[in-house]
Amino acid sequence: MVSVFKSSFLQTALIASLLVGAVCAYLGVYVVLRRIVFVGAALAQVSSAGVGLAMLLNRSPLLVSLLFTLGGVAAFSVKSRDRRITQESIIGIGYAVASALAVLFVAKSAQGEAHMLDVLSGNILTVTPCEVWWMAGIGLAAVMLHVLLSKQFLFSMFDSETAQASGIRAGWWDLFFFLVLGIIISLAIRLAGTLLVFAFLVVPAVTGLLLSQRLGRVCTIAVSVSVLASILGLYMSVRMDLPSGPSIAAVLFAMLVIAWVGTKIR
């Protein structure tokens, strides 16, 4: 297996996948617990629409997708006061509109539809070391910040009413979490594509929740699963000449199934 990762571009791809996987898997635990899995998908799609617009306007994809994602964060984190419109509906509309915009922008851009596949399924094999450094710096800073402030995030998510009654501004902490999530998603999508980022956000967290009843262990399992799936998935994609993102996602799913079967046998 080691021989497969001897070339420098594969080493860069592996490091990128490990970083995106570890950061998304850690934050994903809170995404799943906060029951905002679909927000992850919608933000990923909004970020893709930003990449599409950047292609059309020939601007920096990272900057435009970040701006789009922050707009998505603002829209999805606000709780509607109109009882006829649920937050879930707003997220669903956001997802549909962003998906359509991404396709429309890319279809009209000079770089054409060739890039569409990269945006949607990602091509971690073409990642540059510079992009990896960005992901490493911001991703690790986001995780460290989250770990340092975990008690506020946790209390606000678990029981926002009591947290607020205790003087913890649950609404602000919620918005802060969405912001961190939005920034990480727009960075990660540039490296791994919407499919893999969404898979890293949800599947390792659910695997962790299947295997443990302690939050710390759930996070550790989720990160470990993402690391293992990155290595196995990339190896599989090189050996079998398969697209990298879907290969890693397939391994993540296989590990989830194994965990589920394990809990049934236990």
């Binding site: 029951r35 205790s166 929740l209």
Partner: protein
């Protein structure tokens, strides 16, 4: 309205007297609601240190809204809610609103009660951990500390949430429907626990409930809510067949059995008792 004579503090003419006694919180002609929607109007109520209050009324009249205003989470639309800033509040929400998907133990949940006493970046110390164990012991579930919260029974979950409120070292504890969906054994045990916290630890207690039979035999003061405060005063004065029939709109009979009040509803063939 009959029963008006028992009102201690529900008119502007009596607010001057009330102000003298404020030491926990006071509603002064407050209107409470959400956005433009007014749930409760003309609310005046004073809670003093050492009180044991019950807030009762039909479903949907705004009992929980009052609690939110007491906690400072909801600002009044008009009027005032004055809270004593030197007093710490502990809150026990309806346990049905707690999301059990979180992989947390009873200990983890109670530890959240300490968070408000820690700095933004501070981690719980060993003394915080000891304090949390003390709170679990105080409510009788020390042996369940490492058990996942989601695996606890209804009564055990309620004790965990009460222990979490205690972990904040409150002088006032505010509880929302603490005995909802419980069997009579658990119901009795929770009310006895609250009674003990009030009696032995001198904690002021305010609880909302729609279970009249449970509340009336424990609380010392009662507020009957229906669009505003309909009646407020000592429990024994407020709880009468006439007052309850008026507020609930059905025939209600208050009887006494073995020195306890029993609230019965619905006379024969829907007639008054």
């Amino acid at each position: 309205m009959k029963g008006k004579s028992v009102i201690t503090c529900d008119g502007e003419n009596k607010m001057a007297d009330c102000k003298q006694k404020i030491n926990v919180l006071a509603f002064e002609n407050a209107a409470l609601g959400y956005g433009k929607y007014v749930v409760l109007n003309g609310l005046s109520l004073v809670i003093n240190e050492g009180d044991f209050w019950g807030i009762v009324g039909p479903n949907g009249v705004g009992k929980t809204t009052i609690l939110k205003a007491m906690l400072g989470v909801l600002k009044p639309l008009s009027g005032q809610v004055r809270r004593n800033r030197n007093i710490r509040f502990g809150y026990v929400p309806q346990r049905q609103f707690i999301d059990e998907v979180f992989p947390l133990t009873a200990f983890d949940v109670v530890m959240m009660g300490r968070y408000s006493r820690l700095g933004v970046f501070a981690r719980p110390s060993s003394s915080d951990r000891e304090f949390v164990m003390g709170c679990l012991r105080h409510v009788g579930i020390e042996d369940l500390a490492s058990k996942p919260y989601r695996e606890l029974s209804g009564g055990q979950k309620q004790r965990t949430l009460i222990a979490r409120a205690l972990a904040a070292e409150p002088q006032v504890m505010i509880l929302d429907e603490p005995t909802n969906d419980m069997d009579i054994g658990s119901e009795h045990a929770i009310m006895e626990l609250l009674s003990r916290l009030h009696r032995e630890d001198n904690i002021t207690i305010v609880m909302v409930s729609h279970l009249l039979n449970v509340v009336v035999n424990y609380v010392e003061k009662l507020a009957l809510i229906d669009g505003g405060i309909r009646m407020v005063g000592d429990t024994k004065d407020v709880v009468s067949s006439e007052n309850l029939s008026d507020v609930y709109g059905v025939p209600v009979k208050v009887a006494s059995f073995d020195n306890k009040m029993v609230v019965l509803t619905g006379g024969r063939d829907g007639q008054r008792f």
